[in-house]
């Protein structure tokens, strides 16, 4: 490492022009990244993280402008470059990797063409460029670069696309690599793979990295130093270990508390949340920007903007009371009503459910022979990579998709018709859903009042005065107020929209609510509030959830039972604690090991190679054998294992006997679960 700074931002201020007014997005940001250093930038959406990245390469949208300060890349003032010099700087010294590789690659050019193009810019042509491109793909651990070069982006999986995007970013041997949420759209298993790659490349390359992510755990694993951005201001900075273990700004403290950690469960207390909202862009900030949401704030905080206090050891905090930051009281009381003993008969009983789609003459078995049961007030967590059949299973329950003949779904002992249209009104209102994306789930032309009233009318069978009374109760039960009723969905924030969607699902006193990734589009503080709300509603109304999420921490917090799906089959089913603490199916083991952990403990590093096989052509024998880290031999390839009961209520589909799994996984489990 040298003393030279790869990137130096001095008092950088950026504004976006919206409605004829300049609105400040970044306010006097000072930030230095040393050569070879990995710097993480975290904060909730709207804090200005991406704006920092775009400013560095002067690539702001048309209405954005740098209103003050300076940016130095390798000691060179980016602001003073003319367009040709700026082009050279972008071509030679800085590269960016974006969130969605599918959009970053040109869909109509082969991978090889797109890669060689970069070398041609540098004056290398013909075979030499092809060779260099192949070498680049090798470098990002693509095992068959020659064939990948011949393919189009859509023929690659998301993880492969992101590797190619990283290869392209590294092609010019940049001194500065900007990664803007590089793994956000990827499955946990693929995310782990890409993060491993970035970690390895860091050791090989001299490039400095600016790593932007909303995921604190990812940043804690990847970066040396971290900066926390709030309302366009750097509020805390320091070494990753210090900031995450000993935060000195109430915002960082609160952010860390929002995450379900260390196997926390709903009956052990609610998650902490951050009250209030981020100041809108361009809002005038008098004192501390976080004062309105901070329980420690005093008159001084509201009047006097805190400077960035230097705490020594390279630690900075923009808080007057940085010594007390960790004494921030909880925003939500931790206590919860005691869990009910669940001895009631099952509310849901699914037996041998199958769904086959016809795909060009080949049957595609999206869900195969799934049986689960669920008691009132319980949550069934569905986990598995995308393509494992989670959403199809949920749609079968709802009746949006009709299952194959043979299986059965029973609700409170009564058989549910396969199709929604032939279910009775009572059955329809008993099974409802909270969709992943509230923008798609709420009709943008209707007011919140219309949306909820219609649900109460159709599902609750209410009208007139009783409807109005119930509407008020419903709105209050999801912690919304009357004034939210008059507006359209677009006028609400993501978290408020999701509350409306939850209220709609609860309009007819459902028995089962399917929650399909309900918090994946939300920031962590909002996620915590929504999870608390779901847990509260459950303990009050004894409703059961089918909870789908790729975030295992979230699933664990809310679930009583877990079903692990792979290619439409249940690989493991059992009580949440048994599934998480193990011994578990090798696939579950791999999923758990893929989750980035905030405390940086090196977990058992089981990585799944390649991608989930096509359900139209599943592997023979055990469908997981092609990727299984614990494959024992020919039997795995020829004979499909049965779901066998390992312990009462805990079943695993694996040829390896339970005792043997326990022996294999034992040492690693203690390392992976320091909780």
């Amino acid at each position: 490492m040298t003393d030279k700074n790869a990137l130096e931002l001095k008092d950088l201020s950026v504004a976006y022009r919206v409605g004829r007014r300049n609105r400040a997005v970044l306010r006097n940001v000072n930030l230095t990244i040393k050569a070879g250093e990995a710097y993480g930038l975290v904060g909730e959406s709207g804090c200005g993280k991406s704006t920092v990245a775009l400013s560095v390469v002067r690539y702001l949208p048309r209405n954005g402008s740098i209103t003050g300060g300076s940016i130095a890349l390798d000691g060179q003032d980016v602001m003073k470059l003319d367009s040709e010099a700026l082009r050279r700087a972008r071509a030679d010294s800085v590269s960016m990797v974006y969130q969605d590789p599918g959009k970053a690659l040109n869909p109509s050019l082969r991978i090889g063409r797109q890669l060689t193009e970069i070398f041609e810019l540098a004056g290398i042509t013909g075979q030499a460029a092809t060779d260099k491109a192949t070498a680049m793909l090798n470098r990002v651990r693509i095992s068959d670069p020659v064939s990948v070069m011949q393919r189009y982006p859509h023929q690659l999986s998301g993880g492969m696309q992101q590797r190619v995007a990283i290869a392209m970013a590294l092609a010019n041997d940049p001194s500065m690599l900007i990664l803007d949420e590089p793994t956000t759209g990827l499955d946990a298993t693929v995310e782990a793979e890409v993060l491993d790659l970035i970690g390895q490349l860091r050791r090989e390359l001299s490039a400095s990295i600016l790593f932007i992510s909303h995921n604190l755990a990812v940043v804690s694993n990847m970066c040396d130093r971290v900066g926390v951005l709030y309302a366009g201001m750097l509020v805390e900075e320091g070494s990753t270990k210090d900031v995450f273990n000993d935060p000195r700004h109430p915002y960082t403290v609160a952010l860390l508390r929002c995450l379900p950690r260390g196997g926390q469960r709903k009956d052990q207390g609610r998650l902490d949340t951050i009250p209030g909202f981020l100041p809108g862009i361009g809002a005038t900030i008098v004192g501390c920007a976080f004062a309105d949401r901070c329980a420690l704030a005093t008159e001084r905080c509201r009047a006097e903007p805190p400077p960035l206090y230097d705490l020594g050891d390279g630690r900075l905090s923009r808080c007057h009371y940085h010594d007390n930051a960790q004494s921030l009281p909880r925003a939500t009381p931790a206590d919860v009503p005691a869990a009910q003993p669940k001895q009631a008969p099952p509310v849901l009983q699914v037996e041998g459910l199958n769904k086959t789609y016809g795909s060009h003459g080949h049957p595609l078995r999206a869900v195969k022979d799934v049986s689960v049961s669920l008691r009132p007030g319980e949550t069934l967590g569905l986990v598995g990579e995308s393509g494992s059949g989670k959403t199809t299973f949920a749609r079968l329950l709802l009746g949006l998709v009709a299952p194959d003949d043979g299986g059965s779904i029973e609700l409170e002992g009564k058989k549910l018709a396969p199709r929604l249209a032939s279910r009775s009104e009572d059955q329809v209102k008993a099974v409802q859903i909270v969709f992943q994306n509230p923008d798609s789930a709420l009709n943008r032309s209707h007011s919140i009042r219309h949306i909820l009233s219609r649900a109460l009318k159709r599902l609750g069978g209410l009208s007139g005065r009783t409807l109005d009374t119930r509407l008020e109760e419903l709105v209050r039960s999801v912690r919304l107020t009357d004034r939210h009723l008059a507006v359209k969905p677009r006028q609400l924030s993501g978290g408020l929209k999701q509350r409306v969607a939850i209220a709609r699902a609860f309009a007819g006193d459902p028995r089962i609510v399917v929650c399909d990734e309900p918090t994946s589009a939300l920031d962590v503080s909002v996620q915590a509030a929504i999870l608390n709300l779901l847990a509260d509603l459950q303990s009050r109304q004894d409703v059961s959830y089918i909870f789908i999420s790729h975030d295992l921490g979230v699933v664990r917090y809310l679930s009583d039972k877990i079903a692990v799906l792979y290619l439409g089959r249940i690989m493991e089913f059992g009580p949440s604690e048994a599934v998480f603490s193990g011994p578990h199916h090798p696939y579950t083991e791999a999923l758990l090991s893929a989750v980035p952990k905030l405390d940086r403990t090196e977990s058992s590093r089981i990585r799944l190679d390649g991608e989930i096989p096509s359900a139209a052509n599943p592997p023979t024998g055990c469908v997981f054998h092609t990727r299984c880290p614990r494959k024992i031999g020919a039997i795995c390839e020829t004979q499909e294992p049965q779901l066998t009961e390992a312990q009462p209520g805990h079943t695993i589909r694996c040829h390896i006997p339970y005792a043997e799994l326990a022996r294999l996984q034992a040492p690693k489990i203690t390392a992976a679960e320091p909780a």
Binding site: P61, Y98, I433
Partner: protein, 296 residues
């Protein structure tokens, strides 16, 4: 990619109090700042005023013939000259906007209503309904309007109503196709699934849930169609199938005078032709503006 849409994807307004304009308000705002739209609107409004009030301010009765002064070239007395019956061309051009501005918009409204209903139906049900209806619509679109008009006039006789029905029905399939493709995208959204999970009927889902969200493309297509409808009405009148004498309609006037261009009496045709052109251009500018405002 969150990078480029940062300004649009800014923190959603935290509370309803800080909410910004509605989408319609935003659209109106951007329309009123669009030069294209305002120019088109100006031309269109000019002709609308002529159609509504032209008869009160024109210098001559557009129907009064004055054989002695027939075919006088443009001069101070008669700005645009007179035609073969000595009628004042200027007055006829101004008042001639009335019939076309009644027939064309009514035909477009008919096309929009029929096309929207049909498009919602086939887009929502898809499958066999879509296959059959779409093929029929395509076959229908393959027949030129003039042929349909001829057949209709033989069957129903010439009248403004015939013209409205003929143009309305021959434009409906085009609007139906636009609506269909918008509905196909819309029906995949989760709020449609949510409606199914309330056991809503198909009509409710189509007209209450989906329709409000496909209004923008319908509005764009309607304004574009209006331009074509004006052209179609003028064409039919020119061919004698449309508006009938003694109306001072532009297409009709051109048709009865164009034989005299050879004799040097250009003014009997030119001003009517310019009127048609300006109206079509005006409507197309409006359509462009509306399209731009919805697709910004």
């Amino acid at each position: 990619m969150s990078a480029t849409d940062t300004p649009a994807g800014l923190p959603a307004p935290a509370s309803p109090d800080t909410a910004s304009r509605s989408p319609w308000g935003e659209m109106l705002h951007s329309l009123l700042r669009s030069g294209t739209f305002l120019t088109g609107l100006f031309i269109l409004l000019f002709w609308v005023v002529c159609a509504l009030f032209g008869q009160y301010f024109v210098p001559y009765d557009p129907l009064a013939s004055d054989i002695i002064n027939a075919l006088t070239p443009p001069a101070a007395d008669h700005w645009f000259g007179t035609d073969q019956l000595g009628r004042d061309v200027f007055s006829r051009v101004i008042v001639g906007s009335r019939d076309i501005l009644t027939v064309a918009p009514l035909a477009t409204i008919l096309a929009t209503i029929a096309g929207t209903a049909l498009g919602l139906l086939i887009g929502y049900f898809r499958g066999i309904v879509d296959d059959i209806v779409s093929r029929v619509l395509e076959a229908f679109m393959a027949i030129p309007v003039v042929i349909i008009a001829l057949l209709a006039i033989v069957a129903l006789g010439t009248s403004k109503v015939t013209v409205i029905v003929v143009i309305g029905l021959s434009f409906a399939p085009i609007i139906a196709r636009t609506v269909r493709s918008a509905v196909l995208a819309e029906r995949e959204l989760d709020y449609v699934a949510a409606a199914k999970l309330r056991h809503e009927g198909a009509l409710h889902t189509m007209f209450v849930e989906i329709l409000p969200n496909v209004i923008p493309p319908i509005l764009v297509e309607t304004t574009v169609r209006l331009g074509y409808a004006i052209f179609a009405v003028a064409t039919l009148s020119f061919m004698g199938f449309g508006i009938q004498p003694p109306s001072p309609d532009w297409g009709l006037s051109i048709s009865s005078n164009y034989g005299m261009i050879g004799g040097g009496f250009w003014w009997t045709v030119l001003f009517d032709a310019l009127a048609i052109a300006s109206l079509v251009i005006g409507v197309n500018l409006v359509a462009d503006g509306v399209h731009g405002a919805f697709n910004d």
